[in-house]
């Protein structure tokens, strides 16, 4: 069964028209993304800043509609729903944001933040449930934390509270948008293990959005690599980490700093181009060390090279 089925999702943000040019210009945050996520799987969406990964997460949360394309959650098309149906589906999805300083309302006590999804969705709960979920994310004893304001907690503790809020309603799908990138390295593994355990125990589906291939490789079952609004490679964790095909994936892997490793093998030049004036042909060609004439002119097809391993590159 598929938890998320996205077909050809595009999100264009219109830019202000200039007086001189007649053409409408768009920022193409997502330029045709198709992604299927099986139930009970941890699927990572990896990409640099500006690749569109957060926009995709917001669309799956139904916080913003796509320009075109469809998104189904558990077989239900998100953007043709009535209000009541939307409420039912939102009850099953939770989100964890990157920044624990802004994802908790500074004026609400932790207890109020954590019980909010329960109250808003009319789920009955008791004190024990709240205590259990808070302690399960490592805030022990719960009574020490429940009546604090976010300002009285450290960044790591706040992120634990944000995770507790997401877990409280026992969702079927969690969208975790860079959940550990603002957390100290020493407790990152802790957070990722938490996600992994809940995933195993409750058959939770996780869409993990991250820029860090190392984080993705730590807990993912499957990984999709996003570049400038398109998926360039997708496969099982082993395929992506051990047998990466796309030069961009290889470069991302090589950019993970590992002790004792010397010179990088695949170097990429420069920064991600802006998604307003996309490069011709393959959108990675200006930075690709292997680019040929063909890459400059023809956009590569997204093909299955090996069972379950897709790539969009002229080299294969």
């Amino acid at each position: 069964m598929k938890m998320i089925e996205a077909k050809n999702v595009k999100k264009y943000f219109p830019l202000k028209k200039s007086i001189l040019s007649r053409n409408d210009r768009y920022l193409k945050a997502l330029d045709g993304i198709s992604l299927e996520i099986e139930k009970g799987v941890i699927h990572s969406l990896v990409g640099e800043t500006g690749s569109g990964k957060t926009t995709f997460g917001r669309i799956v949360m139904a916080l913003t509609p796509p320009t075109s394309g469809t998104v189904k959650v558990d077989g239900i098309d998100l953007f043709s729903l009535k209000k009541n149906e939307m409420k039912l589906i939102r009850k099953r999805i939770q989100i964890i944001f990157q920044d624990p300083y802004s994802s908790l309302n500074p004026k609400l006590k932790i207890r109020a933040s954590i019980t909010e999804p329960l109250k808003l969705n009319h789920v009955k709960f008791d004190e024990k449930m709240v205590t259990d979920v808070v302690e399960s994310v490592g805030l022990k004893p719960a009574s020490d934390y429940l009546d604090r304001f976010p300002g009285e907690m450290s960044g790591g503790q706040r992120q634990r509270a944000a995770i507790a809020r997401a877990f409280a309603i026992s969702p079927e799908l969690i969208i975790a948008d860079e959940p550990v990138s603002m957390v100290d390295v020493s407790i990152r593994a802790d957070f990722l293990n938490l996600l992994r355990e809940t995933n195993k125990r409750e058959n939770l589906t996780v869409l993990l959005i991250t820029h860090d291939l190392f984080v993705a490789s730590y807990i993912s079952d499957k990984i999709s690599v996003l570049y400038l609004g398109k998926i360039v490679e997708e496969g099982s964790k082993e395929d992506i980490i051990e047998r990466p095909l796309h030069p961009y994936t290889q470069a991302l892997l090589d950019s993970i700093p590992i002790l004792g490793m010397g010179e990088r093998e695949v170097k990429i030049k420069g920064e991600i181009p802006n998604p307003i004036d996309l490069p011709s042909g393959c959108r990675f060609h200006p930075r690709c060390p292997f680019s040929e004439d063909k890459c400059r002119q023809i956009e590569p097809e997204y093909r299955e090279i090996k069972r379950g391993h897709f790539v969009a590159c002229h080299l294969y």
Binding site: R58, M61, A62, L63, K87, R90, K91, I93, Q94, I95, F97, D99, S102, S103, L104, N105, P106, K107, L108, S113, E116, P117, L120, N121, F149, G151, E152, R165, I169
Partner: protein
């Protein structure tokens, strides 16, 4: 920490805040105990016209032989009453308009902000004179008129804050948990706007006190109600300034300025305490 306890603990270190509260508290006490501390009935006339200040008449007497000290003590009540209630009206209106305008945006925002611009540009005092001439200057009307014309600043400030707060992730989390617009506005955005609203409310009180006094001074409203502006009104129409009767005009003037300054200090202390960037540690 609870915002109130945090404010109180910070207040002790804020000289301006303490002075502001001190001034306001003194006037509130005077307003409450006016009958006790006034040696005369403020309305009672006598044959002692235009007496210099003396131990018998601390602030002297007016052209009717009324005791000006008693009048000034009783006169504290109306400015405080009008100031606080008109500010309440103004702040509530500004808050609601700013919240809706900022949160919903679009056409609603466009309409509300153009209306706000109109009231910001039109000289309020002139409009107030016209309206009170039309509907009559009873106390309630004056409160409603001052309140109903002083909300634009609050609305603008609240709107600009809502515009930024509504983009915060905790708002998106609430939305994705099926939080409705009204819920999000009042549960999530309002508490974060409140510190600024407090600062604005204190300024609105200062503004309302000043406006009320100004209106009464030029003869708009009920001139039989005792207030500082009213005393100054009679001082002016009786030509006491040119006649050198300084004790008539000066005390109410000083009181108006003092009370206004008290509320301005209060506003400054709200702002510096709730805004960590201006807070001195």
């Amino acid at each position: 920490m609870n915002p109130l306890t945090s404010y109180l603990s910070q207040l002790r270190r804020s000289t301006i805040g303490m002075v502001g509260w001190g001034i306001i508290a003194s006037f509130v006490v005077i307003a409450l105990i006016a009958p006790i501390i006034s040696p005369y009935n403020p309305y009672a006339t006598s044959n002692a016209y235009l007496q210099h200040p003396s131990l018998l008449h601390l602030f002297g007497t007016n052209q009717e032989g009324q005791d000006l000290f008693s009048q000034n003590m009783y006169g504290t009540r109306i400015p405080l009453l009008v100031g606080s209630t008109a500010a309440l009206v103004a702040v509530l209106m500004g808050l609601i308009i700013g919240l809706f305008s900022g949160y919903f945006g679009g056409i609603l925002d466009e309409i509300l902000m153009r209306v706000t611009d109109f009231f910001l540009v039109v000289p309020a005092i002139v409009l107030m004179i016209v309206i009170s001439a039309l509907i009559g200057g009873t106390l309630t009307n004056v409160i409603l008129i001052i309140g109903g014309l002083s909300w634009p600043m609050t609305a603008r400030v609240v709107r600009s804050m809502v515009l930024s707060i509504k983009e915060w992730p905790f708002v998106e989390v609430a939305k994705s948990s099926n939080g409705g617009s009204i819920y999000i506005m009042f549960k999530h955005i309002l508490p974060n706007v409140m510190p600024v609203v407090f600062a604005n409310a204190a300024l609105s009180v200062a503004n309302a006190i000043f406006t009320q006094s100004a209106l009464v001074f030029i003869g708009v409203g009920d001139v039989t109600d005792l207030s500082w502006g009213n005393i100054m009104h009679f001082a002016y129409i009786n030509g006491t300034i040119t006649a050198g009767i300084w004790w008539y005009m000066i005390p109410p003037g000083i009181f108006i300025v003092l009370l206004t300054v008290g509320f301005i200090f209060l506003s400054t202390s709200f702002e510096s305490i709730f805004n960590p960037r201006t807070r001195r540690v």
